[in-house]
Assembly symmetry: C2
Homo-oligomer: 720 residues x 2
Amino acid sequence: MAASQQSGAESLKPFFYPRTIAIVGASREITSIGYRLLESLQEGRFAGMIIPVNPHASEIAGLRTYPSLREIPAQIDLAVIAVPAGLVLSIIDDCAAKQIPAAILITAGFAETGGSGTSLEHQLRETIHRYGIRLIGPNCFGVMNLDPAVRLNATYTPIVPPTGHVAIASESGGLGLAVVTAAQRLKLGLSSFVSIGNHVDVTVNDLLEYWEQDRNTHVILLYLETIVDPPRFRRIAERVGKNKPIVVLKAGRTQAGQSAAGSHTAALATNDKAVDALFAQCGVIRAKTLEELLALATGLSAQPRPQGKRIGILTNSGGPGVLCTDSCAVEGLLVPELDKATQSTLASFLPPMAALRNPVDVIGFATEEQHAKAVETMLTSSQLDALIIVHVSVRPKDNEPVAAGIVRGIRSAREAGYKQPVFLCWMAEGDLDRSFIVDGEVIPTYRHPEIPARIIRYDLTYEAWRKQPSGQIPAYADVDLVTAKEICAKAFAARGPGWLTTQETHALLRAVHLPLAPGHIATSAEEAVKLAQKIGYPVAVKLASHQIVHKTEIGGVQLNLGGDQAVRDAFNRIRTKLEQAGQLDAMEGVLVQPMLSSGGEVMVGMTRDPLFGPAIAFGLGGIHVEILSDVQFRIAPLTDRDAAGMIRGIKGYKLLTGYRGQSAVDLKALEDVLLRISRLCEAIPEISELDLNPIFALPSGQGCRIVDVRIHIEPPQPAV
Amino acid sequence: MAASQQSGAESLKPFFYPRTIAIVGASREITSIGYRLLESLQEGRFAGMIIPVNPHASEIAGLRTYPSLREIPAQIDLAVIAVPAGLVLSIIDDCAAKQIPAAILITAGFAETGGSGTSLEHQLRETIHRYGIRLIGPNCFGVMNLDPAVRLNATYTPIVPPTGHVAIASESGGLGLAVVTAAQRLKLGLSSFVSIGNHVDVTVNDLLEYWEQDRNTHVILLYLETIVDPPRFRRIAERVGKNKPIVVLKAGRTQAGQSAAGSHTAALATNDKAVDALFAQCGVIRAKTLEELLALATGLSAQPRPQGKRIGILTNSGGPGVLCTDSCAVEGLLVPELDKATQSTLASFLPPMAALRNPVDVIGFATEEQHAKAVETMLTSSQLDALIIVHVSVRPKDNEPVAAGIVRGIRSAREAGYKQPVFLCWMAEGDLDRSFIVDGEVIPTYRHPEIPARIIRYDLTYEAWRKQPSGQIPAYADVDLVTAKEICAKAFAARGPGWLTTQETHALLRAVHLPLAPGHIATSAEEAVKLAQKIGYPVAVKLASHQIVHKTEIGGVQLNLGGDQAVRDAFNRIRTKLEQAGQLDAMEGVLVQPMLSSGGEVMVGMTRDPLFGPAIAFGLGGIHVEILSDVQFRIAPLTDRDAAGMIRGIKGYKLLTGYRGQSAVDLKALEDVLLRISRLCEAIPEISELDLNPIFALPSGQGCRIVDVRIHIEPPQPAV
């Protein structure tokens, strides 16, 4: 582990394990945030010392109060600041003077309000970086550490969730509040919680590194509206995720949502497909809704990962059992029929009308004993990787014995060494919030029969990602980036931003060893004929021009030319067309190529996201990309695994593997193109857009040929 | 309205408005169903008379009890039967003797258990049909009518939901129980509830007709595992749905789910795509999950339909506001910026840090007054078609004033004549089940910010369907079904089940006036050459054979033949190939066709679903159908609206409307093909499968040409 990473995580310790906290802006006014921070710390029985700071009081809430930080004789580990925005900078000066290493800034009125708030935030950032003070916030609602050794609740809600192993960071105070307060009802044990607000200093990336080291944290939940420093996020999330699942609810996935988020925490607009790509690359589990985030939190934190997709369903009612079975099938899980021996065992104690195959329906009035035995029988059958129990309350008074039976059944199985995860759907009006805890093990309990299957599928996807070896980013010693850079620099010097010429694109692709389709440029009809003769008929003749992008539309692509006269005519037709359009200057000549037959046409593209950097696209080209949107994206740098996954991820993948007697194409060659393009675009930020379209994929072992290329250059954008 | 329909609905009245009920199998044993039925009726304060029937008692629960139905002196309107399955038939005899018009059969042990249960169910059906007794069940959990005039709870749950306008029928007792008991918490007012069990007599279709007439019912919810008599369901649902939305949770949408349902209520396996098609055709709203069913129930029953897609969002917390905005965008709704005047009004009373554009964020500590004014301002702004309010509780004690403010705001707007629907997301731990009722109007209240947008989108889709004129099924006087039937009958008589010959398919398509591509059959090479000369080169030569289905694979399709010798060679190649394969007998000759150039290739297919009848498919053919699954289905008979919708419903539709400079194709001609095929397949049940593939779609006004056809015939299956 890098030293900086260790020290980064180390520098966050005062936020979570302070011995002495100063509350700056503490107040006797019970509606004030300052008062409520004090109250939360006191009610939470904080294990350290609390020192209120208020220029107009000498005692608040029974605590000795100081007029300013500077006058406190003790050493302070953490300042929690809730003063008007205009006073914040002077308080930071005080923190520096007192050598306080860390501060939580609750105060709002910074970049989220725009205008002068934004410049105040710039000053704040500059100030704390100058002093070397770590800061959480501003515009946040505080920090909790549920470790019984410290019992820190430095937020303005008095509600403290149970202690456990889930760490949460939220970019929205309200959302964080909703999750933290729901944790109690859901028996969701937390290790710590951070409201990160405008994250001028401490970001989610820092917190991930802290929680990586934190023994109390096993699962990490994030609510994000933006991704700060995506390459670092990716690096850290991938490393941390190998041991601790990271679940993200990323808001602003639509333009409208981004604009709403923009007026809120000044989040940067990002392409949601890039977000999906990044998360897929680093194993982050993306929750689609708040409901899924909460369901995943309880599901992932309390139960072991399933080791396969064979699901047992135990129910006391057919209909909900069918809905649960449907949801399993929709999520790609299996609900296998139990073997005859297990069915016989079940039959020996269940009522005669029970269904035994799976779903097992114990029917409406099954007893505690029948539930206990059925749960135990299914879990110990060795035929199931997970168990979902779906209960509809028929008589309220049955709930207690049924619940007891379920707990007994799970306990027996656990004692016998069976560790499959168990999930509950408990549909018992008046008793919906019942908790199921088996010797300290919380059984995740939902209200609807469709949810457990979704959680199991997320679980399996994560587990598959976690188990696979990390992808490699090939070094490609033969990629001549120096030459490639020179080509771009010369073009830029000569013409400024714009498309590279055909000569330039060809030279550039040769420098990175990408397989160009054969072809040469001719600047006269006779030269074109000579080239065609050398190549052998039939040939294709295409306009070479960096200024005219849509060549087909103006008749600039002439295919299947069978003889000299046809080539001559084609050249002249293209020339005349341009002349008539007054665009003869744009003609660099024509490209004469042999007619290739393709095993399949594909395209590779790159657009540069202002936040995420190069986003590489792969698709089948043509209507597949333009109309059917069958495209896969990944963020550079691509690993070999990313490249392989992109190709296999498109819906039309089958077309590349030998559809209808055609031969399978050279997938390795396509992966190689993707990886080299990734390398190129990462290394040369001046390349703002790139299209290899079409690429002819040839049969396995024969590579591929890039038939058409466009490369756009402009001055690199400063990182945002 | 047809007389039978009126009388059908009339015959169900005794289930909902009985004056005297007999409980057969009433018992003193408090764990028995018979006892609990009595208890439910009594606790529910049934307005009529209850008469227990039990051979071993003269009084149960304070009521005079008779040993058998026959001995009751009074007239009985409804018998509720809960006796062992073996006694049921003799009780039905008693019902007949007593001239009881209706019975609810709670008893299980019929077809759902298979074997002898199935034959018992057959006997039961035969018996009640013979007597003319209407029967709900068996294997059901009863009927409720919440009308205060009758207060009927003939189920074995004592929990009675509030009175309102939602009618529910459930094929699963447990699921019905879950919904009915949840209604109380959700303030979901019901008109009536029916557990339909194995529906040997009264089906969902009958209930739809009853509820169509029932003034208390405005919205209908169904939980179904099968669709009984789909054509009748479609007809009734379409008619009823024009006035009363019908929401269906259809389980068994996967193979696994169907098999689970099969072991439960013996539901027939059905193709889920056919279900989707049928529902789309008759305006049924399909809930995907139980959660959606409940959310739709509260959303549709309590609020007016939105008149457009402009959504206002009012929140006290940014993050949840962003999630709500995202969900609106995902559902195709708009969150428009409010005009400057409205923003100024909001600014005049909201805190300075509030966001005013929409979402409107009143921020964490807004008061009752601020909430009331903000709600009123947004609803009366005339810029919004619906309002979603998203609240995160910051301090539990704020909930009361915030809730009061919301109610006041809605009331003011309603009093001023603004009727847009309002939905709430109330995230207040400890207060999650709060109800919002404004002068009797229930405001649907959810827990997650993503749900309201989904309900609004369902609402709008339903409303759009409701407002459109019904589609027409064209009569097609020029479709010669007599000839078409004769062709099928002759082929069947000659060869039994199988594919029609090329001659037969051509004759059949001509009889229904479908546009075949020109072409004639030649049985020798020289005949083929003559035909080719007459047609003019280039031509296509294709194997004609009803026995060999995959012609391309064996080289049976030779395209672009430019001269006599090429045609002669093609004929001989095909002949030799078949000879070598020992299949010469299968060769009917070759089809000689002109080479057509196509504006786009499409396919139309038909498969006969055992339950739903002809399911017609439309797609672009080739990889679009086989790999990308871009196909639309509808159930015959198609209306003109169905046909138009199918073509416009495929993802690749743009390819038919003039993509990349190609001319738009003749959509009317394709619709005509779909409608004629629908007519053909409806009228001739012997056609079990049909494929028109490819069909060349020509430019607008030029029609289309069916290039290849396959038609399979077999003896029609008995209706299931």
